[in-house]
Symmetry: C2
Subunit: 131 residues, 2 copies
């Protein structure tokens, strides 16, 4: 059954599976599930259903190798990260990505190490754009 309005974003369970898939590159349901932060004990068929839905939604493609379906991401993790950041920026930070970073930096849970990491990223960015 096709979906009325296929969504641009993953549900939390779908994201779990996509993370498993991105981790292995390509793989069968079992391989994907083996590469997930498995705090949840899920039946194999549940995983198969999720992967089938992800294919319906266009996030993955499948190819039959011997008996098993081997799934491959259609969307890279990098692309999905960008899409997610833009969505969050739009829906929660008035469309300003800078506001998102500002909020992140403002967070108490940020260690000095993380701050230095961000600072050097900003240095690189300015070097690249200003010569």
């Amino acid at each position: 059954m096709a979906r009325k309005h296929d969504p641009d974003f993953l549900t939390s369970v779908e994201l779990e599976f996509m993370n498993g898939l991105w981790a292995v590159g390509s793989g069968t349901v079992r391989e994907i599930m083996a590469n997930m932060d498995a705090e949840v004990d899920r039946a194999y068929t549940s995983g198969a259903t999720v992967m089938r839905i992800l294919e319906q939604k266009g996030f993955v493609a499948s190819d039959k190798k011997d008996r098993a379906l081997v799934y491959t991401p259609v969307l890279s993790k990098n692309e999905y990260q960008g899409r997610s950041i833009r969505q969050m920026s739009k829906s929660l930070f008035d469309g300003a990505p800078g506001a998102l970073v500002a909020r992140l930096v403002d967070d108490e849970m940020l260690t000095d190490e993380m701050i230095e990491q961000i600072r050097s990223l900003l240095d690189d960015k300015q070097e690249k754009s200003n010569g």
Copy 2:
């Protein structure tokens, strides 16, 4: 009807309404809906239902003023922003907020102004924690 597992995060429609509420501070269903980016034409009763659910979930509280219920956020936008960033960092950036910034800096147009702004936020942050 109470929910089995009350979630920490808003659905997209709920977020629309919370943005409306955060924008007005406190307000009735009608006031909230008036302050939403109203690309969708929704019935008043739909809004009332969403607000009731948001109260069930603990995101807002209500207080009867005359006839109408005046809703107030339980969670500030700032708090929810932090929660969302942490969630996204955890689920999509291996728990490293720096990786999120890296991804953002990588393909978004951050002006020098924004970068300087962020840099001074970082300075403030380190001053506060170290000096």
